[in-house]
């Protein structure tokens, strides 16, 4: 008695092949759809904005007149904000990840903490804006300064950095830790010389991607009351400032049609910024992977 009827198998072969091809086509179209949407967006923004893109656009402050409006205050403000966000979020994020993965004993409490950090990564950014408004702007009386915005953005991306760092640290094989301990290394020596060097490409990739999210976020800035019309550059961490997404948001909601084009020019600058940061992430990853 044979269970496989080969004649029947051959008969069914055609329809199986059709289904096989069908799914390939569906998945391809799904990808194509996303790419197409992205392409149209790019086309629209570039065709609208490129005319307003000039050195003056980078060097001018905001203005009532579209042809005079520039992104200088927002560009510099975003840079100042990132100067706060990058060190704060990376130090806190990587530090927490090291604690959770290397030091924390397995316990119910720690499992609970781990689970909630992953959940925090999914909390909407508006909520983080409210948190920043309550803690940094009001309770700590930092006002709508660079520091307050930087801390708020750090909180927002902290869960993402922690989770990415935890995953890279967890991916370091235990055998390497054992080898290090086996030679009399302390825990910190093992972390500094074995775990982190192996984990750093992943940590930096995750970190920079999180930072590029921070530079594009608008909602928390709106909530903590970051102004748009700023005619001076910040000179310390407690200065008022504005940021690129705020400026773009403001231009986009103005009634004059020309400002739509100015907004597109702003988006181009922001996207070049994001692309630069993502390329740095890729370069760092490749460089470290070659060495180790």
């Amino acid at each position: 008695m044979r269970y496989i009827d080969h004649a029947a198998v051959v008969k069914r072969m055609n329809s199986r092949m059709i289904v096989n091809k069908l799914f390939k086509t569906i998945f391809f179209l799904a990808t194509l759809f996303a790419l197409l949407a992205l392409g149209i967006l790019f086309y629209r923004i570039i065709s609208q904005g490129v005319g307003y893109l000039s050195l003056d656009f980078l060097l001018n402050f905001g203005s009532r007149f579209p042809e005079k409006a520039g992104i200088k205050a927002a560009l510099v403000g975003s840079l100042w904000m990132m100067a706060v966000v990058a060190p704060v979020s990376l130090i806190l994020g990587v530090g927490s990840a090291i604690y959770l993965e290397e030091y924390a004993k397995k316990s119910k409490l720690n499992d609970f903490i781990r689970m909630n950090i992953a959940n925090l990564a999914g909390v909407p950014s508006v909520v983080f804006g409210l948190l920043g408004l309550t803690i940094f702007v009001r309770a700590l009386a930092l006002g709508n300064s660079i520091l307050a915005a930087g801390f708020t953005m750090s909180l927002l991306i902290l869960p993402v950095i922690i989770v990415a760092s935890q995953e890279s640290i967890r991916a370091v094989p235990n055998e390497l830790r054992e080898a290090s301990y086996g030679m009399g290394a302390t825990k910190w020596q093992t972390i500094a010389k074995v775990v982190l060097p192996s984990a750093i490409p992943g940590i930096l990739t995750g970190g920079i991607l999180a930072l590029s999210r921070a530079i594009g976020e608008t909602a928390p800035l709106v909530v903590i009351g970051i102004p748009v019309i700023i005619q001076f550059l910040p000179n310390n961490l407690l200065s008022q400032f504005t940021a690129m997404p705020m400026q773009i948001f403001d231009w986009a909601k103005r009634p004059q049609e020309e400002f739509q084009y100015v907004a597109s020019a702003g988006i181009i600058v922001l996207m070049i910024f994001l692309l630069l940061m993502n390329s740095i992430a890729v370069i760092i990853r490749n460089k470290f992977q070659k060495r180790y």
């Binding site: 390497l176 080898a179 290090s180 086996g182 030679m183 009399g184 290394a185 302390t186």
Partner: protein, 274 residues
């Protein structure tokens, strides 16, 4: 037991100096060792006196506690949470299970080679120099000398001397394992623990490691866990047979393999179980 005063004053020949002082020549004296993983009683009343400058093989079926025992000798077993121990392991006159015995200090004297070759994803040089560096040696010339001496000691110098700056991952499995042995030698240990060091290697690499073990016992005390009974018979001076967390028999390797006194030992080495 005699007090040790002239510890390691003759530099690399520390073992020889110790031998003169310690009449018994016992490097590890395990007394009534019990170990639990949570509620699982993994080692039961182990008494084992391991002599120096010998190769001591530990054999037994999977799950008999032989790996647990060898990892207790440098307290690596503590990396597993919820491990409890009782009893004593006297190493050079001190009980290593004492809470105030620093594991880092112990592991500087007791090197370990693991089941799977586990070089660091660094250059061959940096792999060997890792141990000396963590113990504070920074001088480049000293490090160079240590690296060469260790690689020669592990009989792999000629194969890698021209590519010390290449990543150790580029080597074959057998070479990687000898790099790991060289790395253990670089901390100038007194004892080398080997946890099934050839189980991931092909027969030719296995043979090389076995030959190496024979050479190393001139200067080091070696304790080796093995699944391979022929290997135990080939390379060891003494053999301990573990079963269900107990030492069933511990004797000269020749005796264990020719005239074992316990029926269970005989059954195991003749392949009737395990």
């Amino acid at each position: 037991m005699v007090k040790l005063n002239v510890n390691n004053q003759n530099g690399t020949n520390g073992n020889k100096a110790n031998q003169k002082v310690t009449d018994s020549g016992i490097v590890y004296d395990t007394r009534q060792l019990n170990l639990w993983y949570g509620s699982h009683h993994a080692l039961k009343n182990i008494d084992l006196a391991i002599k120096e400058n010998e190769v001591t093989a530990i054999i037994g079926p999977s799950g008999c506690g032989k790996s647990t025992y060898i990892k207790t000798l440098n307290r690596m077993v503590e990396l597993v949470p919820s491990v409890k121990t009782s009893g004593q392991i006297i190493y050079r006159d001190r009980n290593i299970l004492d809470a105030d015995y620093g594991v880092e200090e112990l592991r500087t004297k007791v090197g370990m080679v693991f089941q799977k070759p586990n070089p660091f994803p660094k250059s061959i040089f940096d792999n060997i120099a890792y141990g000396p560096r963590i113990h504070g040696i920074k001088n480049k010339k000293t490090l160079n000398e240590i690296v060469e001496k260790s690689l020669r000691g592990a009989a792999i110098w000629d194969e890698v001397k021209d590519r010390l700056n290449e990543n150790a991952y580029g080597l074959s499995g057998g070479q990687q394992q000898r790099i790991c042995i060289a790395r253990a030698l670089a901390i100038e240990p007194d004892v080398i623990l080997m946890d099934e060091p050839t189980s991931a290697l092909d027969p030719i690499s296995t043979l090389k490691v076995e030959e190496l073990v024979q050479e190393l016992k001139q200067n080091y005390s070696i304790i080796i866990v093995t699944h391979n009974m022929q290997q135990a018979a080939r390379i060891s001076d003494k053999t301990a047979f573990f079963l269900n967390g107990e030492v069933i028999e511990f004797d000269k390797t020749d005796t264990i393999f020719s005239t074992p006194s316990d029926k269970r030992t005989e059954d195991y080495i003749s392949g009737r179980f395990g």
